[in-house]
């Protein structure tokens, strides 16, 4: 499949999900040139979603997170290089590493990802204050969680809530190991009653959030409200509309309390800061590539330099519907980008990136799935099912157009929504509000809503209350994420 127009070598900076997938897809597409995957982390490429979920509860070693075993890279002639890239020389088409080595590229793929934001307050550097992005972060957090009694989570985003869910479920043991299996079940049951046996409950968890609800930048109000109820029922305390003024130590360099902007102090032996991420754009910016809230790329994921692409969390790319430049943080996005770039490099496509975004988050036994993207702000919400129950979906519309669907414990809705959105099948708020409407049904018979109905008789139609609509989409807000960012 390779021919003379293909670059002789591809260098990929960053070995997260997107970097790995670029290398893997190049080989799948028959690319025979040199493939170099440069990683600043001392680890084989691994998956990040479990880091804020199952990995925190168990004893699994990092090898279980690997995307592929070491033999895969040998077999596929993918050169894994450990090191930090310090410079892109666009004229010489070379990247230089901190150790002085350099690699020439025919095409360069920037899959540099993002780094967690930290708090800019006194005491932010105390021991016991964590962020969560890498396997190393997760391993440290897991160790800390095993003996923690009082955790404060700063930021009610996906990372914070997924961590809170794990922390409420894990029984602390002074010996240092975390409970699993039956212990977890027992704790969950205890969480639904008012009384907790001392020493047999999850760690105390308080979530501090500057806005008035969780996941405010990522989901609609009905979905956010569900997660507020869910976490409260499991014993998590929420403090909304609160910022952090300072972190205080115990005199020996360890965090002991969190001071809020209203002056209150929350005792804490573990603090997780989950206040979003900053894309890693420094290399691109230093090389003179356009950067605006992310490495700016066109619809084919090319930067301003025809020999350099950017993908995944670090790339601000034009959204299909709105044309807005926006970053998305998810496995699906990283993989989709990687495949497109690999296809382009091997000459099998010149298409624009147009994959439908999808995403999931597990918290306690609840699964949230989202598809589509609400980057323009929706003006109507239609709820399928009862939003006060354990299972419902929220359809987000702008005018007559369906932008996104959030499904809480309704996987069939999620999958039908993916089909509808991907195939461009029209769904209007009136359709969705009609009695008997289902997403799956609409997929096979796309016009049930044409029959007469009384508005609101069958469904909750909400002419938007506070929602994503009032959040100005900014490339630096935290969109849905499947990785711990």
């Amino acid at each position: 499949m390779t021919n003379s127009t293909h670059p002789a070598s591809v260098v990929v900076v960053g070995s997260g999900q997107g970097g790995y997938q670029t290398a893997a897809s190049l080989r799948e597409n028959g690319y025979r040139g040199r493939v170099t995957l440069i990683s600043a982390e001392d680890a084989l490429p691994y998956e990040r979603p479990p880091l804020s979920k199952a990995y925190l509860t168990g004893r699994a070693d990092q090898a279980q997170l690997w995307l592929r075993p070491a033999t895969y890279y040998v077999r596929q002639s993918i050169d894994l290089v450990g090191g930090t890239v310090t410079e892109i020389d666009r004229a010489a088409r070379t990247v230089r590493l901190a150790d002085g080595s350099s690699y020439e590229y025919g095409h360069l793929v920037l899959a540099t990802g993002a780094r967690p934001r930290t708090l800019d307050v006194p005491g932010a550097g105390l021991r016991g204050v964590h962020t969560l992005r890498t396997a190393q972060d997760a391993t440290e957090l897991r160790t800390a969680l095993a003996t923690a009694r009082r955790a404060v989570v700063v930021g009610a985003g996906f990372i914070g809530l997924e961590f809170a869910s794990v922390a409420r479920s894990v029984a602390p043991e002074p010996g240092g190991s975390t409970a699993r299996g039956s212990g977890r079940t027992a704790v969950r049951q205890a969480g639904r009653s008012t009384a907790r046996e001392p020493g047999h409950s999850g760690c105390e968890v308080t979530v501090v959030e500057a806005l008035d609800r969780p996941l405010a930048r990522a989901v609609s109000a009905p979905t956010a409200d569900h997660f507020t109820r869910l976490h409260r029922a499991e014993g998590t305390r929420f403090l909304f509309g609160q910022g952090v003024a300072a972190l205080h130590g115990d005199g020996r360099g360890r965090v002991a309390s969190v001071e809020l902007t209203d002056g209150r102090r929350l005792p804490a032996d573990l603090v997780l800061v989950g206040v979003g991420v900053t894309p890693r754009t420094e290399l691109a910016a230093a090389a003179g590539l356009p950067v605006r809230g992310g490495i700016t790329v066109d619809s084919r994921l090319l930067t301003g330099d025809p020999h350099i692409s950017a993908i995944g969390d670090c790339a601000a790319f034009p959204q299909v519907r709105s044309g807005n430049l926006r970053r998305l943080e998810s496995v699906q996005n990283a993989v989709g980008h990687a495949r497109l770039v690999a296809e382009r490099i091997t000459g099998s496509t010149t298409r624009a990136y147009n994959e439908l975004p999808w995403f999931w988050s597990d918290q306690f036994s609840t699964k949230l799935q989202i598809t589509g993207v609400d980057d323009e702000g929706h003006d109507t919400e239609v709820v399928l099912g009862d939003e006060n129950s354990e299972a419902f979906s929220v359809l987000l519309f702008r005018g007559a157009d369906l932008l996104a669907v959030e499904s809480v414990n309704r996987p069939a809705d999620h999958l039908a929504a993916r089909q509808l959105l991907a195939r461009g099948i029209k769904v209007t708020p009136d359709d969705a509000a009609a009695p008997g409407f289902t997403l799956k049904g609409h997929l096979t018979h796309p016009a049930p809503g044409r029959r007469h109905h009384t508005p609101g008789a069958g469904r909750t139609v909400i002419p938007c209350r506070s929602s994503n609509a009032d959040v100005t989409p900014s490339p630096d807000t935290s969109p849905p994420s499947n990785d711990p960012s």
């Binding site: 479990p50 699906q332 996987p411 069939a412 999958l415």
Partner: protein
Amino acid sequence: MPKITYVAVDGTERTIDVALGTSVMRGAVFNDIDGIVAQCGGHAQCATCHVYVDETNLDQVEPARPDEDDMLGFTACPRRPNSRLSCQLKVTSDMDGLIVHLPERQY
């Protein structure tokens, strides 16, 4: 450990000892068997670990739960009655001798 046989589209067979408690998907991925992608990492979210369970082994696997059943509507190759997502096939001692056939493509 149960022995599981993976049969590629071209008929090539490989038999692997797969650890209990892991999945038929992980058994493939960690033993360099191509043809299973598992984009989502094993969460029944992407339908890129589709396999056909050999007709002679159907009694060795638990039936699909509703979320897997729904996701099977998204496979790249045609869904058949013996279609499964290999990430949802948790390896048990009952699976010794299981044969799964890999589809032509996963996406």
